[in-house]
């Protein structure tokens, strides 16, 4: 069995999922067997505004353990990650990073901010300024 541990930077409680990668897909969004697929299939939320189609960075995660047990990032994922705030060398998109090894032990951190939360905050500030 593979193990996926999720740490939420916003302080939500850690979650751990044990699963058999061969049984993917677990849900209908993201690549089958991806971090997003596994989490949603086990009722653990991870934002995915584009529906898990590698068209935004809301499912950005930072891999703390087990980076080599994930599928290799495609150029498309790398292009998208370039636009993620708080990018690190072990950043991946949850919708694209597939857990391939049957005994993988993966730990990911879900950052507090996505680019959209950043922009929404800016919008709120602008709106409050305009509204006086």
């Amino acid at each position: 069995m593979a193990k996926l541990k999720v740490i939420f930077e916003n302080g939500d409680p850690e979650r751990v999922v044990e699963f058999d990668p061969a049984k993917a897909p677990f849900h209908h969004d993201g690549q089958p067997g991806s971090i997003l697929d596994v989490l949603l299939g086990h009722k653990i939320p991870l934002e995915h505004a584009c529906g898990g189609n590698c068209a935004c960075t809301t499912c950005h995660v930072i891999v703390k353990q087990g980076l080599n047990d994930l599928s290799e990032a495609t150029e498309q994922e790398e292009d998208m990650l370039d636009k993620a705030p708080g990018l690190t060398p072990s950043s991946r998109l949850g919708c694209q990073a597939v857990i391939e090894q049957p005994d993988a032990e993966i730990t990911v951190l879900v950052p507090r901010y996505t680019i959209n939360q950043v922009s929404e905050s800016a919008e709120d500030e602008e709106a409050s300024t305009r509204d006086g």
């Binding site: 209908h28 969004d29 939320p45 934002e47 995915h48 505004a49 584009c50 529906g51 189609n53 590698c54 068209a55 935004c56 960075t57 809301t58 150029e75 498309q76 292009d79 998208m80 636009k83 680019i115 959209n116 919008e123 602008e126 709106a127």
Partner: protein
């Protein structure tokens, strides 16, 4: 009135919009014009999308729909979509009526153009993937002294070339805007598009200063990206979004 879909977005607060108007481009393609009920404007950059809560009998899903109108147009804003096989999201949207409400979050997405780059621009789209490109083109064409713009637009049928009048109007009004269309069966669409891209912007000259915005369905988008980048265009000069 649609059932609320707040639960689809976790802790992120949803906004609600009502359907102001419906426009059918053809039997398979529809635009919904949406006005936020809270009257706050939806501030977006050309190319961005919203995430809509699709309220199905067994679950609520979130699906992304690109805003096809211009930010400057304000409310209502327009989303455009077409029927797809097993597309439960679009079927749900096709069932919405004027006055119905839906919940959304966003805008999102980084396939955008805030300010046109100082370069000749090439836009490539297929079918409804013109949606993010349409407001980009309007943004460019609203700028004084804009650079040359090419739009290469492919669809499986002539009636699936959306907003055609707008683009033909630009082409008629200035030689700085070139509008070319292709009709191709879905099975051969990307191959033909790839050949055309290779002929026009790889083999025709050695200019590698253009910037590209490519949007479409399937792996053909990535194939175009690879052809352009391997031909010497800079990585960041080839913007793309694969649906």
């Amino acid at each position: 009135m649609a059932e609320p879909g707040e639960a689809a977005f976790g802790s992120r607060p949803a906004r609600r919009a009502k359907v102001d108007r419906i426009f059918d481009h053809n039997p398979d393609t529809r635009s919904l014009f949406l006005t936020p009920i809270d009257s706050r404007p939806v501030r977006f950059v050309p190319g961005q999308f919203i995430s809509i809560a699709i309220v199905l009998p067994d679950e609520t899903r979130t699906r992304a729909y690109t805003i096809a109108s211009r930010p400057e147009d304000g409310a209502p804003f327009e989303i455009c979509f077409n029927r797809v096989v097993n597309g439960r999201g679009v079927e749900w949207l096709f069932q919405r009526q004027v006055g119905d409400a839906l919940d959304f979050i966003g805008p999102f997405g980084s396939f955008t153009m805030e300010r046109p780059p100082d370069a000749d621009l090439v836009f490539i789209a297929d079918g409804t993937a013109i949606a993010p490109i349409r407001p980009m083109i309007h943004r460019v064409m609203s700028m004084p002294n804009h650079r040359r713009v090419n739009l290469l637009y492919v669809a499986s049928k002539p009636e699936h070339l959306l907003y055609r009048d707008e683009f033909e109007s630009y082409a008629a009004s200035t030689p700085q805007f070139a509008f070319d269309t292709m009709i191709a069966a879905r099975t051969e669409m990307h191959e033909r598009l790839l050949e055309e891209v290779d002929r026009r912007w790889v083999k025709a000259d050695a200019d590698r200063t253009r910037q590209f915005y490519v949007c479409g369905v399937g792996k053909g988008v990535v194939a175009i990206r690879d052809v352009l980048r391997s031909a010497g265009y800079e990585r960041r000069a080839v913007h793309y979004e694969q649906w």
